[in-house]
Amino acid sequence: MNTEQLNRLLLEAFPELADEFEEYTSWQDGMETGCFLTYEDLLLPFARDALDAKDDVKLTRIGTFIEKLVTLGDDYAVNVATVGLLEGLKADGNDTIRQYLGTTSLAEYDSMAY
């Protein structure tokens, strides 16, 4: 999966990020902006806000999306999901996200040493 495809996946799953995405990527590489950047700088804050707000609906969507990424069988998607998202969430020290993760992403999350 290339950068554009993975960014498209992000926008399909979280259309509410579209405006922010457009602004954020407008001075970078558009749809080819690196996904560590778009996922860490757009989806991660979205997830943190959902955690702070205890927004069950959003957290379910986020957990489902992360599980999808780690089970796609695509190296880039897995790398972004683990290093970009799960590592960031784990570092925050709020384990609430655990209950929203699927089997594979939860195993990844729990195996991270922090």
Partner: protein, 147 residues
């Protein structure tokens, strides 16, 4: 054995246990040392070189813009303890040992952040955090080049 911070052009270089530490722009105090086995030779690294906090905290305190703070936060995750806790040192560890930190490669992340910082500096030559961003850029570039 890998040497952290090699190649960085810091404003102040602090030597800890024979290893040069890179990104700090100033501050003093008694460094706290942590021992961390990388792969192969043991490596002595400074978990904190300010005496009052981590590299992450020092860089966050130095940053004056949300843009720079955001980059520091993602490059230096809370609690990360390989080298100075930054992505560049994770890359150095990975390249030196062949073992990705946490079992997952940080190289692509480093490449993307490097490109982003270069873009920011090109776009805004008078960026208020230019010095900090240049040091982050150089650190990532050196790490990716195996230095």
């Amino acid at each position: 054995m890998y040497i952290r911070g090699k190649g960085v052009a810091p404003l102040e270089v602090m030597t800890v246990g024979g290893f040069s530490s890179g990104l700090f722009s100033g501050t003093s105090g008694s460094p706290q040392l942590s021992l961390s086995g990388g792969g192969g030779d043991s490596t002595i690294q400074s978990a904190s070189t300010t005496g009052s906090g981590t590299q992450r905290e020092a860089l966050l305190n130095e940053a004056t813009t949300d843009e720079a703070r955001g980059i520091v936060k993602e490059l230096y995750r809370e609690g990360a303890n390989v080298g100075d806790g930054g992505t560049a040192d994770a890359i150095r560890e990975e390249l030196a040992t062949g073992n990705p930190v946490g079992g997952r490669s940080h190289i692509q992340k480093g490449r993307e952040r490097l490109r982003q910082i270069e873009r920011i500096l090109q776009r805004n030559p008078d960026h208020p955090d230019r010095t900090l961003l240049e040091r982050l850029r150089d650190d990532l570039r050196n790490a990716l080049e195996g230095n």
